[in-house]
């Protein structure tokens, strides 16, 4: 079955952008937290897996309806984000960045451990899609409704975030990011802003997890290193965005997804196992050499 190269390319890019939507959601959270707390949040993807596990539990164990289960998963993800802020980020706020980084990695490991522990009996899980439909594009790529929904949620979420950052509360978040002391002095509760930031980031992670979970089967660590491993791609996208730009994170996520899928071209697919990761790393390396500040670095001020 030898498709012409351009068709293979079109199929790969379609699949890449769809998967990139998940990376973009994760990258948005990473950028948000980095701007807010100056932390490389290694727990970002695990907010998603934890939310997914919660949604799975609600749906298949408790038998709650899909919307309720989804909401429950989101609530658990957000709770984990807030808990991370309270128990790790806030107490360590005056520590070095490395300490904080280790702290978030610890949260990720704890979350994975918890997932293992609570779901030891069912190591591989599967959750129904929101919509089972799919269609074939004229160039032969298969697009599932679930992937399309994720892409839509990304678009909607990014637009909402942009609007939010133009609102007074969004302005306050940015103020706290830029000048903590002055923010306190004008009456912004930096603490509350930090909670808000982590809450939103965790919500983005939760969306990524609960939407991507039904793509494939999942197990502990799903969104970090599992079937839809998004932590490294998410970080790559964030780096492409200079760790600051939100539109950049979205563009970066989609691009990383697309580039990773180039590995499915016949030239690579069978000759180089794990070609995806390799292509991606080469790409990132080149970007960092040519433009160390990233390529999707928008204006830092959004309003």
């Amino acid at each position: 079955m030898n498709l012409p190269l351009y068709e293979q390319l079109a199929i790969a890019l379609t699949a890449g952008v769809l998967r990139g939507a998940v990376y973009a959601l994760v990258a948005l959270g990473i950028v948000l937290v980095f701007r807010g707390s100056g932390v490389f949040n290694f727990a970002q993807a695990e907010f998603g897996t934890t939310g997914l596990f919660a949604a799975y539990w609600a749906l298949t164990v408790q038998g709650w309806s899909y919307p309720v289960s989804f909401a429950f998963g989101m609530a658990v993800a957000i709770a984990l984000g807030l808990l991370t802020e309270r128990l790790v980020i806030h107490p360590l706020r005056d520590s070095s960045r490395v300490t904080l980084l280790v702290g978030t990695a610890g949260v990720a490991l704890a979350a994975i451990g918890l997932q293992f522990w609570l779901f030891n009996e069912t190591l591989v899980m599967s959750m129904p899609k929101i919509h089972d439909g799919y269609f074939t594009t004229p160039w032969g790529a298969i697009v599932t409704m679930q992937e399309l929904i994720t892409l839509g949620v990304l678009a909607g979420g990014a637009a909402l975030l942009a609007l939010f950052f133009r609102s007074p509360s969004g302005l306050a978040i940015q103020a706290a990011q830029q000048e903590r002391v002055a923010s306190e002095l004008v009456g912004i509760s930096v603490r509350r802003v930090s909670m808000l930031t982590w809450g939103i980031a965790a919500a983005l992670g939760g969306l990524a997890g609960i939407l991507a979970g039904p793509y494939l089967t999942f197990s502990a660590g799903f969104l970090s290193f599992g079937a839809v491993g998004s932590l490294l791609p998410g970080f790559m996208a964030a780096v492409l965005a200079g760790m600051r730009s939100m539109p950049g994170a979205v563009a970066g996520g989609l691009l990383v997804g697309a580039i990773e899928q180039l590995s499915s071209l016949e030239v690579f697919a069978e000759s180089i196992p794990g070609a995806g990761a390799m292509i991606l790393f080469v790409f990132l390396l080149v970007v960092l050499l040519v433009r160390p500040q990233g390529i999707f670095v928008g204006r830092a001020v959004t309003a």
Binding site: P168, L171, A172, Q174, A175, Q178, E179, V181, A182, S183, E184, L185, V186, G187, I188, S189, A300, V301, A303
Partner: protein, 235 residues
């Protein structure tokens, strides 16, 4: 009636006390200047008043009632506003956004915010020209003006300015002090921290600090007679 009353205030960083029990008052409507050498404890005093530091012991009373452990946000809401040492403008926001954020505590009364905006741009016309400029790109003097203007945006009863003149040319320092004097004459009480004795002509009250204690207080006419050098030498 004293708008601000400091009673036996002891403040420290960790185990080391920096303020060793100071007492003073600031009367409503006046301009009070707090003088002292580097490290005397001036900034420590005003950040404690603003609520960023917790006193070890002693009290800060505002309009007669103790502020206790109130956080900065509620202090600014009740009328204490600090323009901090080092200006601390929001560097990647415009002048206009900085000012808007200054009124964060009053964001539920848009009419007031509008009025204050007009007022501070009137005090500092140079900021009006630069409303859309990114604050980080302003000159030092402009940033200082912005810091004071931002502190005024909450319509405070007590405006505290920590070293407005620092790093400014004598002319520019005068511009800021004059604006401050106008603010005071419009009814806002002002507490200015200064090392520069050039601020004294604008003051109704002068306090001199040394090594964490208040060594001299002068009120009214005495301010003009205050021998600053002697004060600094502890004479």
């Amino acid at each position: 009636m004293a708008i601000l009353e400091i009673k036996d205030l002891v403040v420290g960083y960790g185990a080391f006390p920096v303020l060793h029990g100071i007492d003073f008052v600031v009367e409503e409507g006046e301009v009070c200047v707090l003088l002292g050498l580097n490290g005397a404890g001036k900034t420590t005093t005003v950040t404690t008043i603003a609520g960023l530091l917790r006193p070890t012991s002693g009290q800060v009373l505002f309009e007669g009632s103790p502020l206790g452990r109130k956080p900065p946000s509620s202090r600014v809401k009740s009328g204490i506003s600090l323009s901090p040492e080092g200006r601390r403008v929001f560097p990647r926001m415009t002048v206009g956004q900085n000012l808007k954020l200054g009124a964060w505590s009053q964001r539920r009364s848009p009419a007031l915010v509008k009025r204050q905006m007009k007022l501070v741009l009137d005090y500092f016309p140079r900021l009006a020209e630069r409303e859309h400029q990114i604050a980080g790109t302003l000159s030092g003097g402009e940033q200082q003006m912005l810091a004071v203007a931002r502190a005024m945006m909450s319509n405070p009863k007590l405006l505290i300015i920590d070293e407005a003149s620092l790093g400014l040319s004598p002319t520019l320092a005068r511009v800021v002090w004059e604006a401050t004097a106008r603010i005071a004459s419009d009814g806002t009480t002002v507490l200015m921290v200064e090392q520069n004795a050039g601020a004294l002509p604008f003051a109704d009250r002068a306090l001199v600090m040394e090594k964490g204690t208040l060594i001299r207080t002068a009120v009214g006419e005495d301010v003009k007679n205050l021998d600053v050098r002697a004060a600094y030498l502890g004479a």
